[in-house]
Symmetry: C2
Subunit: 352 residues, 2 copies
């Protein structure tokens, strides 16, 4: 990325659910940018998003682009990101393609944004956006981890359709219309009923029985925390919700933390909003998290199955498309630009 | 209950979701019975269920009834069950009213059905049907507990509308129609959107932050297992599913149990059906559990966050209205009748 106050941007995968949200968020933030190119596969080319034409992604598409958000599949990132970096582009990658590469930062700005301050963006590079379920959980759990050390985490997710992509969101909506019309459910994408149903996360399963989503939560937490010793298990489930993920999180601490102190830490945590009203039975719900930048946290209570102070239960809800994806990427871009304040007279292009 | 091969039955709360399922199951089983009276509140009186008229429940309604299924609210059980027992009726109670009474058996026939063999039904009495989430979890976990001892359980539930009653099921269905028609959601019963949403279980919350559903799972497991030392925590959540509950269950064992041995135990467990196909990504789903007598169990895998052999993850799905409620009650009745085989010439009534 040639240092610039108004970098030229591109969105790769601009027609997908995350790409569309990114476009929306760029319009809402004060992120000053130069040109904005929207790229997608040949299937989407020729269409437009707002005023912007959608171009076909090729090896040469990113010439002149300072900062590219990759919001497509991991295969697309693997194929096109290295060439973009060669052209001097900084890639902020939503996919899992590079997340576990030791030299590539995996960033949630509220948690480890400081790595961006030392990131040399002048010659291009890749920054990985973590898995959505990991981001949402870590916003709530990291402040507690820093205070007393988290020893073990048991996560059960309630994940929305959006994480499986725009086509799955449309299929869930279509099944609502099918049901209302008394017709058989359209199930071209998932091959199963989704309305009034839920199912184990639709990612491949390893020989140890964990699916990829569960492994991502475990490995990415270890990487972001720089601590492989934290014991983590997860069960990832897709529920018939459109775009906000929820997670039931059970924690075991190394050192005691009272429920009251946990509540204070969470009320002060960046990117977190407490919704924890026992009298009104009002806690985080996906519908309330939808469209919000913050992750909602509630059901904060001492886990009575563990020794006093050493266990805590939480329930979180976060917009998968915003903080779980597009917003986190824009926050990465904002901090990166702020950390590279050298102004160039003109936007560079192809300056390796 | 006067010992009889064909006892006279009654269903209290016959117009509710559980009452209706009970009526259905009685027609499907070979449970021979004498008369069958359907009772409900004054609101439902005058209507019929199939050929049966619905009568208003009063203190005298259960005279002549050998076995009464109470499927209404706990208040109704508290008000009417003692008088029924005075008349010699055996009450099988679905509510939580008497579950924790030390002298009242809390029964899942596959687990502790032997207590029914020693239950003196001749002078009436109460048998409690456990909480639906507890029944569904315990069918899967008890065989493992008996093999190696369960030390700790972390449960996250994905509970269906049916547990909140027929009116909530109808409201969820109505919201589907509202959404398809582009209208605001009807929310007279729950006061919140349920379609495309989920929320913390709608039961009162104690000062420790646990809701009643979570406490029931903990306490009833302790009672059914005769073991208060097992450490249990639970987070109960309602998801937009019609009538089957799912639960993500994380276990810590006292003694090692391999994933393979766990699978063997579960494949032989009564009332359990394995659905655990990693290649096809096919695991328990509420739609598949709906209408089934068995609890589906899958996602069986060693918990890599615990010492080898000492941790296991499971995912279960069970029909809340069948094994979670009505079927369990009918199984109790069947075993009770089988254990009290003395035939009387005529159905007794009011014989204290």
């Amino acid at each position: 990325m040639p240092s610039s106050k108004t970098p030229n941007l591109a969105i790769v995968g601009a027609t997908g659910a995350v790409g569309q949200e990114l476009l929306l968020i760029l319009g809402q933030r004060t992120f000053g940018h130069g040109t904005l190119r929207l790229l997608a596969s040949a299937r989407s080319a020729g269409s437009t998003a707002g005023d912007h034409p959608i171009e076909v992604l090729t090896d040469r598409s990113l010439a002149g682009v300072d900062l590219a958000f990759f919001c497509a599949a991991a295969e697309v990132s693997r194929q096109f990101a290295p060439a973009a970096v060669d052209h001097g582009t900084v890639v902020i990658d939503h996919s899992s393609a590079f997340r576990m590469e030791p030299d590539i930062p995996l960033v949630v700005p509220e948690i480890n944004g400081d790595v961006l301050d030392n990131f040399d963006a002048t010659t291009g590079g890749i920054i990985a956006n973590p898995n959505c379920s990991a981001i949402i959980a870590l916003l709530a759990v990291t402040p507690l981890h820093r205070a007393v050390g988290v020893k073990r985490i048991v996560i059960s997710t309630y994940q929305a359709a959006s994480g499986a992509g725009a086509a799955v969101m449309r299929e869930l909506q279509q099944q609502v219309h099918d049901h209302a019309a008394g017709k058989p459910y359209t199930q071209n994408v998932l091959g199963r009923p989704y309305l009034f149903n839920l199912f184990s996360h639709d990612s491949p399963i390893g020989s140890d029985g964990y699916n990829q989503e569960e492994r991502k939560i475990i490995r990415e937490t270890h990487k972001i925390w720089h601590d492989d010793s934290v014991q983590i298990t997860a069960t990832c489930v897709r529920v018939p919700v459109l775009r906000a993920h929820c997670e039931a999180i059970n924690l075991t601490f190394n050192n005691p933390l009272s429920e009251r102190d946990a509540r204070v830490l969470l009320s002060e945590a960046p990117g977190v909003k407490l919704v924890d009203d026992r009298d009104a039975n009002k806690f985080p719900e996906p519908i309330d998290a939808t469209g919000l930048d913050e992750v909602l946290v509630g059901r904060i209570r001492a886990d009575t199955s563990q020794r006093p102070g050493l266990g805590l239960d939480l329930f979180v809800a976060g917009d998968q498309l915003r903080k779980g994806a597009a917003l986190n990427a824009v926050q990465i871009a904002e901090r990166l630009v702020a950390a590279n304040p050298v102004t160039v007279a003109q936007h560079g292009s192809g300056n390796k």
